[in-house]
Each structure stands twice: as C-alpha cells, then as structure tokens.
C-alpha cells in the first residue's frame, strides 16, 4: 500500500502517506490516528490531570466499552510488548479477554496476565495490587472524563473552572455530602487533585486504588473514547484525594474479611453472595495477584498504603466508639 519514501512528496495525500510511516496492518486503527493519540498523550503527560481532546475513531467495540483505552493501547503497543487487560481485576472477564485478543492479533504483542511481566496494562475499574514499576504503562478506560459533571452542566463553565483552578463548587459538593450523609459517599471515581493543580477523576477505580496513583513509578493514561478526551499522570506525580483536613480519606474495608482462596486480608476483596441468602464469601478482585499469593510468588506486603488507611480508619472508629460509650 504505502510504497512512498519520505523524499517523494508529490501530492498532499502522498505526503501524508510518507508521514504515516510503515505500512499499516490491515485492520482497525490507522497510523496517522495513532500519531494523533500519541501527541495527545504527550500533552497530557506534560500537563498532568489536564483533559486533552482527541479525534476518537470508530473502534470494533461500542463507545463506552473501552474504546478510549483501546485506542490508547493500540497507539502505544509494539510487537515485542507484553499486554495485560483486566476488567474488575480479572484477566478472564469477557470484555477483557476480547480486548486482549483483539489487540494482540492486530499488533503482534504477546498476551500476559502476570502484572510484573506486562509492559502495558489496560484496565477497567482496578489498578493491580502488585505495585507498578518504571517503564510500565497503565491505560485506564474512562466512562466520564469530567470530574465536575455532577456539579455544573455547562461545558464552558467546567472549562472556566479548570482554567482558573476554581474548585469551590467541588468543595461545596463534598461539604454537602457530609452534611446529608455524615461522610463523603463518592465511591468509584473519587475526585483527586493532581500535582496541586487540576481536579481529575481517576476513572471508576475503587477508593482502595486511589492512593496507588500517588507517586507511582509507572505512567497512567486515562482515556475516554466516548467523550474524546484523555488525560495522564506521569511517574512520581502527587495525586491527592480531595477531602477536608478534619475528615480523613477512607478506603473500602470490611473488618474480619479475607480472601477465601489465598487468605489475603490486605487486598481489595469482593463479596460473592452465598446461596439462598447465606452469608457471602470474599475473594481477591485481582485474580493474578491471588493466584500468585497462593503459590508464594507474590510479595507478602504490597498493598501497604490502602490497607494502612483502612486500619487507621478502623482504629479511629473504635476510639470514637469507646469515647461515646
């Protein structure tokens, strides 16, 4: 198809062909669009937390089903890369399996489930328990890119608020939450302040995973295909969940629970309901980590920060209970 060398620049079309680089694989994403995504990602990395618009292309998945993450991953992945895709911490989920197969078949990258061996991790709803390392890229699929969407509806006003770092209405929203509910109820997609400047949604990861974004060794790319915007958190960036000084940030935690398979009580656990209304059982959300914990191939203490937050909250609650009784 593309036999033009960069020196043969006759028409606009052929110049574009030369710019596009190697022949595209017959498939789903053209090289020029990938370049656009890479430029947007570089902009996002240069301005941590800032939402960069891009021309989201049609993908073989519906918008809202990971089309943004898919475009980011397709733009980043190389033949020699190992790719891990998870949905709710699970490599074997239907959506995760299909996305992983789709990408590897079109790029030549290898399929991977071990977080440690993956170069790119595309994820919906979770950040792996295994701490990410320098050189890895985490691609998060984002359904709602705008953290202010519940607070003001006008897009002009949202942009003005970001431009002027005018987040008073976000703080009022948190204040109202505590007034009405006694605590901040925002669960998935808890608003964070990135490098002291932009308020960002960390995508619908649980609160448990939010501290993992702070000062991470890896690059995080968050991409919303439906909303045609992406944003990024470069390595070693301050990511701070918004909360009042006298209302500490808390993570999900059910005291006394542990994974029924690997016994971990320091990982993010999900409940499986029992039969006929019997009490449920708990297991790790991150299947790769759970499997490796069982074979002794996972670090004994990794989740450090989230579980420490959970335990501190528990100690506070016990203390308050003692004080009131």
């Amino acid at each position: 198809m593309n036999t033009l060398s960069p020196t043969r620049t006759g028409t606009g079309a052929s110049r574009a062909g030369a710019l596009a680089g190697p022949d595209p694989r017959p498939g789903i994403f053209d090289e020029l669009s990938k370049r656009e995504l890479r430029r947007a990602m570089l902009s996002g990395i240069a301005i941590p937390g800032y939402q960069v618009p891009y021309g989201s292309r049609e993908m073989p998945v519906a918008r809202g089903w990971g089309s943004g993450g898919l475009q980011a991953t397709l733009s980043l992945v190389c033949d020699e890369d190992q790719l891990k895709v998870i949905d709710q911490g699970e490599d074997a989920g239907v959506n995760a399996s299909n996305l992983r197969r789709l990408i590897t078949e079109h790029t030549g990258a290898g399929e991977e489930t071990d977080t440690r061996a993956a170069d790119i991790i595309q994820s919906r709803h979770r950040i792996p328990e295994q701490p990410l390392t320098d050189g890895q890229i985490l691609v998060l699929q984002v359904p709602n890119a705008e953290p202010l969407f519940r607070i003001v509806q006008e897009m002009d006003e949202q942009r003005r608020m970001h431009a002027e770092a005018d987040y008073a209405k976000m703080w009022v929203w948190l204040y109202e939450d505590i007034v009405h509910n006694g605590l901040i109820t925002a669960a998935a997609g808890y608003p964070v302040l990135v490098e002291g400047r932009y308020v960002m949604t960390p995508s619908p990861i649980p609160r448990w995973d939010v501290p993992k974004m702070n000062d991470s060794d890896a690059i995080t790319i968050l991409s919303a295909g439906r909303e045609k915007r992406l944003f990024a958190v470069p390595p070693h960036t301050r990511v701070v969940p918004l909360t009042f000084d006298d209302r500490p940030f808390e993570v999900e935690y059910t005291p006394g629970t542990a994974c029924r398979l690997c016994g971990s009580d320091d990982t993010y656990l999900v409940e499986e309901p029992g039969e006929n209304g019997a009490p449920g059982t708990w297991s790790c959300s991150d299947t790769d980590f759970c499997t490796r914990r069982r074979t002794g191939d996972a670090p004994a203490d990794v989740a450090g920060q989230p579980v420490e937050l959970a335990r501190a909250a528990l100690r506070r609650a016990t203390r308050e209970q003692e004080e009131t009784s």
Partner: protein, 286 residues
C-alpha cells in the same frame, strides 16, 4: 460630580467617569441622550447609554445610595462595579487592590472574578442570583470560604453558624436546602454569604425589593446594624427612598443614565433641587 467626602477619610471604593453604552460606543451616541432629552437611547446611532459620567467615592463604614426609576442605569452601575459586566469607559478602584492604584476595568476577567472572593461582595434583589437554592444554607456560605482556601469541615461549619447567627437565621435551618426558605430568609442567607470573607466593599442591589413590608423592615434593620458594626463601605441601589433613607448618608439620583443630583440623604429628602428628585421624594412621601 461632587462627592461630599471629607478629605480626611480615605475611600475604599472610587468610581470615576464610569460609562456603559450598549451598541455603538463612539461619542456620537451621547448626543441627544440624558435627562434633558428625556431618553437614554441615542437618536443617531440607536445605542443605549445606560450610564454615563458616574463618579463617586465611598469611605469605610459609609453607605452611599443610588436611587432612580427602572431603567435609570443604577443597576448597570452596580453590575459594572461588581464585574458582572464590562464598563465602556471610566475607572473603578478598590483600596484593597494595590492601594487603589489599579483600574479594575483593566484587569482580566479571571482576575476580576477573583476579587469577588475577598475584596468585593454583592447582594442581589433575587436570592437565586447570589445563591444555589439546591444547596444548604451552610453549603452556600462554604462556597466563598472554600474558594479562599478553608479546608476544615468543622471550621467552615463554625464560621457558617456564626454568620447565620449574625443575620438571624435560626441555626436549626443551617442544614436545610435554601429552596425551602422564605424570601426574607433567603435574602438573609445571601447577606451572610456576601459577608463570609469580610469584604471591605459591599454592593446591595434592591436588597429588600420583592419582600413584603414587614419582612423588608426586618432585613433593613439587619443591614443597618451590619453596616454600622462591620465598617464595610456599601453601595445601596434602590428605587425606594425609604430604603435609601434608612441605610445611607449620601445619595446619587440617577435618571436616563446620568446623575442628576447628589448630596446628603437627609438634606436631599428635605429639599430636593432637581425636578426629578422632587418627584421621587413626593412619591416616597406618598
């Protein structure tokens, strides 16, 4: 325009030669407008000269009234000072901004908006313009507080309670949505919000219009007390001489976009010079 400000008192707000024209801003628009022509609409260009050549100073602890009928330009003057709209010409200076050496009209819109946090506050006739009705009374006051960096939940609640107490809103209503409040109570919350960061300048645009007489009297009493206690420099815009008489010491009378008379409020009430002022006073006396 003479201002009657004693030289010894430094102004907190100074407005000089303020003008706002909707439409062609060239001098041609001025000809044929003003009270002597009985219109604010330019016969040659069709532009509306909403306000022209308005100048005054307000000292800390002083309240200045601007009175006039609907369309006289008094609210336009207030909106220009508040930064809700851009003046066509003239100067606006606040003592709190670079000791009064900066013309606010030269600032970028973003810088202008920031002044609304600490340096200047406005209370509007319609509480919905200054409040979010779907947020609690405390939450509305939390807005300007968090905007200037308050990050303690208990601290914010304490300050909000203090302000609500000052404007005589029962603390039991602090966590109710403002939408559930009566008109008078909404206005009190709006006043509390405006005072949250102790601004040196307060603008009041028809603060009691739309309230029934007994409620209006209560809000006026409150405002008079607050103006005396806080030492804030206030500009009160109203079409009602009763309000101006109760709250202000000096007053400007506006008609068709121009100031037609100015002076001490009690003197002007006793002995209005301009025929229009005489009309207004007669109307107030009923």
């Amino acid at each position: 325009m003479s201002t009657h400000t004693p030289q010894s008192r430094p102004w907190a707000l100074k407005v000089s030669g303020l003008g706002r024209i909707y439409g062609d801003p060239s001098p041609a628009s001025l000809t044929g407008t003003g009270p002597e022509h009985g219109t604010a609409v330019s016969p040659s260009t069709g532009a509306v000269v909403a306000a022209w050549d308005v100048s005054f100073e307000v000292a800390p602890g002083e309240a200045l009234g601007i009175i006039g009928e609907s369309g006289s330009g008094k609210s336009t003057v207030m909106r220009c000072i508040a930064g809700d709209e851009a003046a066509t010409t003239g100067g606006i200076a606040l003592r709190s901004v670079a000791d009064g050496t900066v013309n606010l009209c030269d600032l970028l819109p973003s810088a202008r908006r920031r002044l609304r946090l600490k340096d200047i506050a406005a209370v509007y006739q319609d509480p919905a313009a200054g409040l979010n009705l779907d947020v609690t009374a405390g939450g509305n006051i939390a807005d300007p507080l968090t905007a200037v960096g308050w990050r303690s939940y208990d601290g914010i609640r304490q300050r909000a309670a203090e302000l609500l107490e000052r404007v005589e809103v029962p603390l039991s209503r602090m966590d109710d949505l403002v939408r559930t409040f009566s008109g008078g109570m909404r206005q009190r919350v709006q006043i509390a919000k405006a005072l949250a960061n102790d601004p040196p300048v307060l603008l009041l645009d028809e603060p009691t219009t739309g309230l029934d007489a007994s409620v209006a009297a209560g809000v006026l009493d409150l405002l008079r007390g607050l103006l005396e206690e806080t030492g804030v420099a206030a500009v009160v815009v109203s079409h009602d001489f009763g309000v101006i008489d109760m709250l202000t010491r000096r007053v400007l009378v506006m008609k068709h976009g121009r100031v037609v008379e100015s002076g001490l409020t009690d003197q002007l009430l006793e002995d209005p010079q301009h025929p229009y002022s005489q009309q207004l006073v007669a109307a107030a006396r009923g």
